[in-house]
Amino acid sequence: MSAPVLETRGLGRRFGGLAAVDDVSLRVEEGTVIGVIGPNGAGKSTLINLITGHLKPTRGTVAIDGRDVTGQRPWAIAKAGVARTFQIVKPFRELTVRENVAIGSMFGPERARSVREARELADEVLERVGLLGEAGARPGGLSVADARRLELAKALAMRPRLLLLDEVMAGLRPGEIDRALELVRSLRRGGMTILVVEHVMKAIMSVSDSVLVMQEGRELVRGAPEEIVRDQRVIEAYLGQRYARRVSERDSGNGHA
């Protein structure tokens, strides 16, 4: 059996006395989607930063396709096939939307042969995420939803093996979330391996093959989405006890979730 696309062992990062991420071990097999949820400060974004090398782990290891990349610089990990979005979008403000995306195909794991080819590839990606109409604009004028689409397009232009999505749906309206989810599903159908960090519960449950619930930097529960939504610890930790009570009352009332 081939190595998982992403494997972390005992991964952790301390900031002074605080363990932002502590002892997280993950195996993400090719073509699957793993969701990561947890309350604010649970360490979800830190986990992504540890995988991409934007933060150096203070313990544990990260392997991509079975190759150890622990402690390597972000561009080396990107070249190994890892693309990410940032929770606070990071567009290149002085470049056009098309050029923003072309950067990914210029420097990603599968470098375009020329700047011209990178631009053409960028247009394909923009078409896919529904942003081609804005190709010549500057990112400053984009709506929140479009700015997040651009963030995603920049990552997709790298044609990654592993895609890490850090709250790409935060702040979107329901209709926009559905479009984003459909995109994630279509990427998965295309065989991409995806790790989704998300606050929107409904969103993550509907696209994930498995879900990791984090609390205070540690793994709280892990399992299939259907199990997670019923898990009493998750409901209490993540959604609060009041919600937990409501769910259990509803469940005892009509017998299903």
Binding site: T52, A78, F86, I103, F107
Partner: protein, 350 residues
């Protein structure tokens, strides 16, 4: 064989032809203007210019090259180097020492000066380019000041504060002194090379990488760009142009002193020329260098006592009114078909 089977509507044909024709026409016009300009610059010393005018223009060309070199690291990569004069000084001293102590030909010292500049840029860049923004500016300023002190203290080699003199006349002169016309052409060649390099950078993958670094370094790294290598390369490329400028300058001056060759004012001029002309553009530093050098020269002759204070006031005013630089201002005014200084102040408020 590939004849159109379906006759296009006249309007579409006209439109199609116009669309194709326009960029080609623009390129052709640009190439013709550039060629005509080049012809004038090449012929001018023999037919139009006095010796002193050649000297002034030579220093304009030198600053075009220096500004263009700064543009690579400060404009494209967004790393505001306040120590670029260190490459100028090292280039100048490499040439002066090799000519004076080793009796080397100027033409041999020129690549040596470039090599010393590039080597120093790499050695200095690896640690210093880890800093960002103001910290980087201060660190580069400090390195340049420090190197000047070292040069002063190595007086056995450099002559210290009393300077070093290049053999320029008589039997000791390996390379005969080229005079005003010669230096005019040396600096012109360097300026043209600098513009060509920046033009190539602006169109290349490397140039896009630098612009990405300037705007968001973390995102650039996440896209797979080796940001350290790109920054150090940009710094080295900047030195590759700056050090030969110092070498030619040293030969032209004959006697050089640390106070002038490592003068922070030279760095400041590079920065101002690029910022006022338009940083990160190909044309901006040319416009900035030409305008400021001529303005400075004109003020010096007409307002001998007050020229620095007037020069300073004009620079402050220009930075307030045109914070994005003349070239970017012209481009935006053209794009919106409207010229408004007030609007740009509002948009780019400092």
């Amino acid at each position: 064989m590939a004849t159109p089977t379906r006759p296009a509507s006249p309007a579409a044909t006209v439109l199609g032809r116009w669309r194709i024709a326009r960029p080609r026409g623009r390129w052709l016009a640009l190439a013709l203007v550039a060629l005509a300009g080049l012809a004038v610059l090449l012929l001018a010393p023999h037919y139009l210019l006095l010796g002193s005018e050649q000297r002034t223009l030579g220093s304009v060309f030198m600053f075009v090259a220096l500004a263009q070199a700064w543009n690579i690291i400060g404009g494209f990569a967004g790393y505001p180097s306040f120590g670029n004069v260190v490459f100028f000084g090292l280039g100048g001293y490499t040439t002066a020492i090799l000519m004076a102590k080793a009796g080397a030909s100027f033409w041999l010292t020129l690549p040596a000066a470039a090599a010393v500049g590039v080597l120093f840029a790499v050695l200095m860049g690896v640690p210093v380019l880890r800093l960002r923004g103001h910290y980087f500016a201060i660190a580069t300023l400090g390195v340049a000041e420090g190197v000047r002190e070292v040069v002063i203290n190595l007086d056995g080699l450099t002559g210290g504060n009393s300077g070093i003199t290049v053999p320029a006349v008589g039997p000791e002169a390996v390379t005969s002194y080229p005079g005003n016309t010669g230096f005019y052409f040396y600096f012109l060649a360097l300026a043209l090379a600098a513009v060509a390099v920046v033009w190539l950078v602006s169109r290349s993958r490397f140039g896009f990488g630098l612009r990405a670094i300037a705007q968001d370094e973390d995102a650039a790294a996440a896209a797979g760009l080796n940001t350290t290598r790109a920054k150090v390369t940009a710094f080295a490329l900047s030195a590759l142009i700056t050090a030969p400028a110092g070498a030619i300058y040293a030969f032209q001056q004959v006697t050089i002193y640390p106070a002038r060759l490592f003068d922070v004012e030279i760095t400041v001029l590079m920065v101002i020329m690029v910022v006022l002309g338009g940083s990160g553009t190909v044309l901006g530093p040319v416009v900035g260098a030409v305008a400021l050098q001529y303005l400075s020269e004109w003020l010096r002759t007409n307002y001998t006592d007050l020229h620095t204070i007037i020069f300073g006031a004009i620079i402050v005013l220009a930075v307030v009114l045109l914070p994005m630089g003349a070239v970017n201002f012209a481009r935006e005014s053209w794009a919106h078909r409207r010229v408004s200084l007030l609007e740009t102040i509002r948009t780019y408020r400092l």
